[in-house]
């Protein structure tokens, strides 16, 4: 009956990816949508560490959740927050 901790952690993280991904698609506020898209990448990078792929995790953490979020924020500012 006892679930291994690592499995539990993976399930929680995957749920986090799903929830933040759905939020990124459904939220009306652009700023919140961008932040939750970055959050999905952050959860994904932790999942990669759990799955023993630290190389991929590094790329995902710095590009997926760092640089991409930043570029989206600049793009929103440039387009005056319009859709």
């Amino acid at each position: 009956m006892s679930i291994p901790v690592i499995t539990l952690l993976t399930i929680i993280l995957c749920a986090g990816i799903l929830i933040s991904g759905l939020l990124a698609v459904t939220l009306d506020n652009m700023l919140s949508a961008v932040i939750s898209a970055g959050l999905a990448s952050l959860f994904a990078s932790v999942v990669y560490v759990v799955l023993a792929a630290p190389d991929v995790a590094m790329t995902e953490a710095s590009i997926g959740s760092g640089l991409t979020t930043m570029i989206f924020l600049y793009a929103i500012r440039k387009t005056q927050g319009g859709d």
């Binding site: 630290p54 190389d55 590094m58 790329t59 710095s62 590009i63 640089l67 440039k78």
Partner: protein, 246 residues
């Protein structure tokens, strides 16, 4: 209505494909023949303890060159699209107006916390990036990861000091030089060793030390510099539009 039906049809097809993938999945209990070859001969043939790096840089080096090219093309595309086209005659007026506008506070200064934290963290972030690509053949990470970490350092800088200026000329020179040297190292592999991007053009050294695994550290330094400066250039282009030729 027809459009709706079409969308549902596509969704159903996608669901079928993923359902098949999920139900027919079985975990591999042993390595494939190619994977077996890499694991058996990789470390002694190339001298890199991090097998991922050995595969990425040497066995599949051409793919990495392709990835670097894709990144270069996207950076060039961003530079092209975000260039401001303006007419010659009202150039000077516009420029003065822009300057005034920009100093008048289109950029709000960053908060005390962000500035202080950046002063403390920026050197460490850059140093960590350099560490990651120098140790690519020993520990997880490599040129792409190190370059991305350096670019996040640039991101810190742009966040804390929005007025800071990054020399486009320096970025262009370093980026083109490192890309060029990467290809040169690859061609040297054809001449002096077994093939394009073969790392055995230099001595393999002692297994596990910093200067070992032939040309892999050299290649990763070039890739790391190129990726880091390219991503910094993309960030800088997005930050402001008044881009001159360089």
């Amino acid at each position: 209505m027809i459009k709706r039906i079409f969308i549902f049809l596509i969704l159903a097809l996608m669901a079928m494909i993923f359902f098949n993938l999920a139900t027919n999945y079985s975990e591999n209990t042993e390595l494939s023949r190619l994977g077996h070859y890499y694991v058996e001969t990789g470390p002694e043939e190339l001298g890199a303890p991090n097998l991922v790096t050995a595969v990425v840089v040497t066995y599949r080096g051409l793919d990495t060159l392709g990835e670097v090219t894709v990144l270069f093309i996207s950076a060039a595309g961003v530079g092209l699209l975000l260039r401001r086209t303006r007419r010659k005659d009202d150039d000077e007026d516009l420029e003065q107006g822009d300057r005034a506008e920009e100093t008048a506070g289109t950029h709000k200064p960053a908060s005390e916390i962000v500035e202080t934290a950046t002063e403390l963290l920026l050197p460490m972030v850059i140093l960590f990036g350099i560490y990651v690509f120098l140790n690519g053949h020993l520990s997880p990470g490599g040129g792409f990861q190190g370059g991305a970490i350096i670019a996040s350092g640039t991101m810190f800088l742009l966040l804390a000091l929005p007025e800071s200026h990054i020399s486009r000329l320096m970025i262009a020179i370093i980026e083109s030089l490192s890309g060029f040297s990467y290809v040169i190292v690859g061609v040297l592999g054809v001449i002096m060793a077994g093939g394009f991007l073969d790392n055995r053009i230099m001595d393999l050294g002692t297994y596990g030390s910093l200067f070992s695994a032939g040309a892999i550290p050299l290649i990763y330094v070039f890739v790391g510099l190129k990726v880091g400066f390219e991503l910094s250039a993309v960030l800088d282009r997005f930050r402001k539009e008044d881009t001159g030729p360089l």
